[in-house]
């Protein structure tokens, strides 16, 4: 009972922090004391928080290294935007249309998760990482060759040709133009939508982790043979975690794409997958609050480092290395404790110094 109480409390802390941050930012924005560059970052931050939390489900909770998370984001982005444009005449209210689009994006990404999950989840370790990496690249290349248009007859799709092959009727519109991606998107994403998506993601992920299924998933991670020997169906639960993770990434993809006027498949490349992986690793495997903080800080950080101009990415890399050293290296942690000890000793009585250094 005590443990459950502790869990509930730590979950409430996560929800609370997110809500408080949202309210504070809204108030600051209302009073106009926020830089335009930070304001522009709010939706991407929400996107990356959702991406990091959902990838943490695969890596931290399920324990499988996936390097293709941007692939699911891509599927969600493109299907979501196509849905959004196709629904333009049907649902007039922007927020509702966007929510429906996000659902469609999530559903398509989930479907991609099932398709890729069937072969991939038979593998483990490095092999799984390699196949998911390949999946991300394959998705990118497929979308680069995809042409989708809409006219009064409905959606028209063509592959490996050109936009002309769509043979759109009068008044038709090209949506996905191969490597050019989608342009002329009406910006629908708002900070509030992003905030709502974060809350939904947290609700799904935290409830999954602390459910019977979540316990089974973590048992598989801790010891697959032991888990199977107590009768946990491995494939079912691996699939459950992997597909949930993919669906959330898909919704985040839609949110991301609807925040810009153009979106191309090249955006969702290997670097994006690695970036999200960095958020998860720095935040701590299985640590949801850590993922949220890491994603937020590391999305803002490159902007704040603009003053370093050309050396920006260099400084960013150094910061990453320092954080990793500080959180993972025992010697470094020991050094920090020693320094802290010395400072404490200096502030305290001189006589205690020796004992603290011990």
């Amino acid at each position: 009972m005590k443990r459950i109480g502790k869990r509930l409390r730590s979950n409430l802390v996560i929800y609370g922090l997110v809500v408080v941050t949202y309210v504070v930012l809204q108030m600051v924005m209302g009073s106009g004391h926020i830089s335009s560059s930070l304001q522009g970052q709010l939706v991407p931050i929400c996107v990356y928080v959702v991406m990091a939390v959902s990838l943490n489900l695969t890596i931290g909770v399920l324990g499988e290294l996936s390097l293709g998370h941007a692939g699911f984001m891509s599927v969600g982005a493109f299907t979501g935007v196509v849905a959004c444009i196709a629904l333009e005449g049907i649902i007039s209210l922007g927020a509702v249309r966007m929510a429906v689009s996000m659902l469609i994006g999530a559903a398509c990404a989930a479907l991609a998760g099932v398709l890729i999950g069937i072969p991939v989840l038979r593998l483990s370790g490095d092999y799984l990482a390699i196949v998911t990496l390949a999946f991300g690249e394959i998705i990118k290349n497929i979308i680069n060759c995809l042409y989708v248009g809409i006219d009064h007859r409905g959606l028209r799709i063509s592959f490996l040709t050109s936009a002309a092959a769509l043979e759109l009727a009068e008044g038709g519109r090209v949506i996905i133009d191969g490597p050019m991606g989608i342009s002329g998107i009406k910006k629908l994403s708002t900070f509030t939508m992003g905030f709502a998506l974060i809350l939904i993601t947290l609700f799904i992920v935290l409830n999954l982790i602390y459910s019977r299924s979540g316990r089974a998933i973590m048992a598989l991670r801790d010891n697959r043979i032991a888990a199977e020997s107590v009768g946990i169906p491995a494939t079912k639960y691996k699939m459950m975690a992997f597909v949930t993770s993919a669906a959330l990434a898909g919704a985040a993809g839609t949110l991301y794409a609807l925040n810009y006027s153009t979106v191309t498949a090249a955006k969702f490349n290997f670097n994006t997958s690695i970036l999200i992986l960095v958020f998860v690793v720095l935040g701590g495997l299985g640590n949801i609050l850590g993922s949220i903080i890491a994603a937020t800080v590391l999305t803002i950080l490159p902007e704040m480092l603009r003053q370093f101009n050309d050396y920006r990415m260099l400084v960013y890399a150094v910061v990453l290395i320092l954080v990793m050293l500080a959180t993972n290296n025992d010697d470094f942690k020991g050094l920090l404790y020693q320094i802290r000890g010395k400072i404490l000793a200096r502030n305290g009585t001189k006589g205690k110094e020796g004992a603290v250094n011990e």
Binding site: R215, A216, M218, A219, D222, N223, I225, A226, A227, E228, S229, V230, G231, I232, P233
Partner: protein, 233 residues
């Protein structure tokens, strides 16, 4: 209750189990002994569905289970305690036991847990402790207790004495006998042939993938050949 008929198991091109047949009847302790690499663990993994036999049939309570997935086999009442104390290191003792009752949906597991604690008082003392901090012997007890939580009719134990101090080995074997008296049939794989044969009703000796000798525990302890090969003179 368990009848294995002429199974053949391969690791890629390697023919690991060559036509093994064996039988466990209700209420028995049966042991499978043999040298390193003879295929003892492979036989257990095949029975519990972690590996597949290419040919042959495995019958449990009159049902062919050789094609069932492992979680269905656990549901039928056949539990496997894998080699090397595979407990969930990050969970507490109690949570590990709760995982053992995974297949027992919507059933109150408190009574089962009381029974496990009666068998293993040490686990009761360590109820809230993280399994990774238990000693080797305690982890072995936990793995066995966890298997008991699924209410098995037949419990398969893979090398429960591995790496344990002699005193603990005796304790573990005493507990195995107690479990058996309470109605659980046992199929025991052991390197410690002396101990295994002393508690077994019947025994099989596995040599490079096939059954070389079989008989009652007493017969094998007294056989010169077995004594020379497995019991150290």
């Amino acid at each position: 209750m368990l009848k294995i008929d002429n199974i053949n198991v391969y690791y890629g091109a390697i023919h690991a189990i060559k036509g093994v047949s064996l039988e466990v009847t209700e209420g028995e302790i049966v042991t499978l002994i043999g040298a390193n690499g003879a295929g003892k663990s492979t036989v257990l993994k095949t029975i519990s569905g972690l590996l597949r036999s290419k040919t042959g049939e495995i019958n449990f309570m009159g049902e062919n289970i050789s094609t069932l997935p492992s979680h269905k086999i656990v549901e039928r009442g056949l539990a496997h305690v894998p080699e090397g104390r595979r407990v969930f290191l990050q969970m507490t003792v109690q949570e590990n036991l709760e995982m053992g009752a995974y297949t027992q949906k919507n059933r109150d597991t408190d009574a089962d847990m009381e029974q496990v604690f009666a068998l293993f008082p040490r686990l009761l003392e360590r109820r809230k402790q993280i399994a990774g901090t238990l000693s080797g012997g305690e982890q072995q007890m936990l793995a066995m207790g966890r298997a008991m939580m699924s209410r098995p009719r037949l419990l398969m134990l893979d090398e429960p004495s591995m790496g344990l101090a002699p005193l603990l080995v005796e304790q573990i074997f005493a507990i195995i006998q107690e479990m058996n008296k309470k109605g659980t049939s046992i199929l025991l794989v052991e390197q410690n042939a002396q101990m295994a044969l002393s508690i077994a009703d019947r025994a099989y000796v596995l040599e490079t993938g096939s059954i070389a000798v079989s008989g009652t525990g007493e017969e094998l302890i007294e056989s010169d050949k077995i004594r020379k090969a497995y019991l150290g003179g």
